[in-house]
Symmetry: C2
Subunit: 259 residues, 2 copies
DNA sequence: TTAATAGTGTCTCTGAGACACTATCGT
DNA sequence: ACGATAGTGTCTCAGAGACACTATTAA
C-alpha cells in the first residue's frame, strides 16, 4: 500500500471545488379531516415550506429573502447529506425515525446565486400530528403547509420549484409502488382509510371504486385482516380492520403484469 | 430584489466546503454469444471497469493504484454531474446519446482518502459493439469487462464495491420495469432474444418459460408485431419479429396488480 | 427422418369489471 | 323507516399456469 505516499503528494486544490453542499427536504404530510362521525376521512396531501427571513442572523439582508423554500441546510464534513437531512427533520418535527428518502441531486451551474452549491434533495413522510408543534426558527419567518396546487403558485427560492415538482412525482410513485402509505395511517385501518390515502395521488378505477377495493384489499399479500376486529369510526356498520404485514419483496416486471 | 446587496455581503467560505465533486459511471453491456446458427443467443451481463494506474500523469504514485474502479472524473464548475458523466461516457465509447441515468450519491465521510469528495453515481447501458474499440487512457492501465460475479471478487477502489452493488440492483430493476431492454436489442427482435436479455436479471416463471413468454409478448402494449416479417437467425423455423412501440406511460400500483 | 426452435390447443382456475343487491348500525 | 357506509352475489370475460401437441425448417 503506497497510498500514504500518494496521499502525501496529493494536492487537494488542483481542481476547482464546490462552494457548498446542502441537504434539502420536501416534507409531505396528509391532513385528514373527519367531516362527521361515522364517515371516512377526507384527506389532502400537503407540503411544508418555510418563508426565508428578510435578514440573516447578523441582521444583513438574506439571499432569496421573503420567498418560500424547502427546509434544509449545509452538510457538515463529518456527516452524509442523508444524516444532515435526518438532523434537520428531527429539529423540525422533534422526532427521529421518520420515513426519509433521497431522491435527487441538483447541481445546475447558477442554481444558487451564492456560488457552486450542490443540493441533495430528500423527501419525508410525516404524520400530521408531528407537525402541529412546528415553529419558525432563525432562518425562517414563517412555516406553513400548502397543498400541491398552492405550492405551484408561490414564488419559490432558488430552483425549488423544480425540486418540488420532482419530489411530488417520486413521492406519488412510491405511495403506489411500496407500502409507505402506512406512514399516513394508524397501525390498524379500514379499507376506506387506505383508499383515502391512495386517492390523494391516483384515480385508478380499482382504487376509486369501493366494491372493487374492498375485495382487492383481502388478496394483497402485504396486508392482513385483523381477524375479528372492527371499528365504527368510519361508518355505523362496524368495519373490518387491516394491518400491513412485515415487508415483502414486491417487484413485478412490466413483462408479467396484466394491462 | 435586494439579492444583490445580500450577495455582496455573503461570504462563500463561512462553511467548510467539499474538496471535490466527481461523477462515476457503471457501464453495463450484454455480451451476446451465438453458439451456433439457428440458435437463440446466450447473453451475459457485464460491467466495464478500469484498472487505476500505478502513477499519475506527473509520474507520482497514484491514489488507490492498481485497483479496479468505475470510470469517472471530477465535475467542472460549469457543468452538471450528469453532463460530466455524458462527456466521460462519450470519451469511452465514441458516441453520444447512450442511455445514461443518475442513481445515487455517495458522500460518506472518509470514502475517499484524498478528502471530502462527493461522488455522483450513474449507470449506462451500452450495446456491446460500442465497447469493442475501448482503450486504456491516462488514468487507467487497463480496461476490462467483468461479469457481476467476477466483479464482486475483485479488489475495488474507494467505496466502488458498494456503488456497484447498488448499480446492479437499480439496473436490474429498470430492465424489468421499463423498456430499456431495447438498448440491448436490434430494432426488430424475436421473443427469444428479448427473453435472453431479461433472463440476465430475473427468473420469473412467465419469462423463463418459452410457451408462456411467446404468448405474453403479443399482449404487451409497448411491443408490436412486425406483421409478416420473420427471421431465421434464431431457429430453422422462421420466427416472428417484434418491435418496441413509442413510449407508453406504464405505472401500475401494487394495489392493482395481480400476485 | 431427426433435432431443434417456435409456437398453438385445451383445460382449469383466478381474478377483473360491472352492477345489483344485502348487511348493519345510529338517528 | 332512512340514510349512509360496508360489503357480497353473480355473471362474463381475460389471462395465468400446465402440459401436450403441432409447425417449420436444415442437415
Amino acid at each position: 500500500m503506497s497510498n500514504e505516499q500518494a496521499l502525501a503528494q496529493y494536492d487537494v486544490k488542483q481542481y476547482r471545488t464546490p462552494d457548498g453542499y446542502t441537504a434539502d427536504i420536501a416534507v409531505f404530510t396528509i391532513i385528514s379531516t373527519r367531516l362527521d362521525t361515522y364517515k371516512p376521512p377526507t384527506m389532502e396531501l400537503k407540503l411544508m415550506l418555510i418563508k426565508r427571513s428578510m435578514t440573516d442572523l447578523e441582521g444583513r439582508p438574506n439571499i432569496e429573502a421573503g420567498k418560500w423554500a424547502l427546509p434544509g441546510g449545509f452538510v457538515n464534513p463529518d456527516e452524509t447529506s442523508f444524516q444532515s437531512a435526518q438532523r434537520e427533520l428531527q429539529e423540525e418535527t422533534g422526532v427521529s425515525g421518520l420515513h426519509l428518502k433521497h431522491f435527487g441531486v441538483y447541481d445546475k451551474p447558477g442554481r444558487d446565486p451564492r456560488g457552486w452549491i450542490i443540493s441533495n434533495a430528500h423527501y419525508a413522510i410525516v404524520p400530521e400530528h408531528r407537525l402541529s408543534s412546528r415553529q419558525a426558527n432563525d432562518d425562517a419567518d414563517d412555516v406553513e403547509l400548502f397543498t400541491i396546487d398552492q405550492v405551484l403558485q408561490l414564488e419559490l427560492a432558488f430552483d425549488h420549484a423544480e425540486i418540488i415538482s420532482d419530489a411530488v412525482k417520486v413521492m406519488a410513485q412510491e405511495l403506489l409502488e411500496t407500502t409507505v402509505a402506512k406512514e399516513f395511517l394508524p397501525k390498524e385501518f379500514t379499507y376506506s382509510e387506505l383508499q383515502s390515502v391512495l386517492r390523494t395521488v391516483t384515480n385508478e378505477p380499482q382504487i376509486i371504486s369501493d366494491p372493487a377495493f374492498a375485495r382487492k384489499i383481502k388478496t394483497l399479500p402485504f396486508i392482513q385482516e385483523v381477524t375479528g376486529k372492527k371499528t365504527t369510526r368510519t361508518s355505523k356498520k362496524p368495519t373490518q380492520l387491516y394491518r400491513f404485514t412485515e415487508p415483502v419483496q414486491l417487484s413485478k416486471s412490466i413483462y408479467t403484469v396484466r394491462y
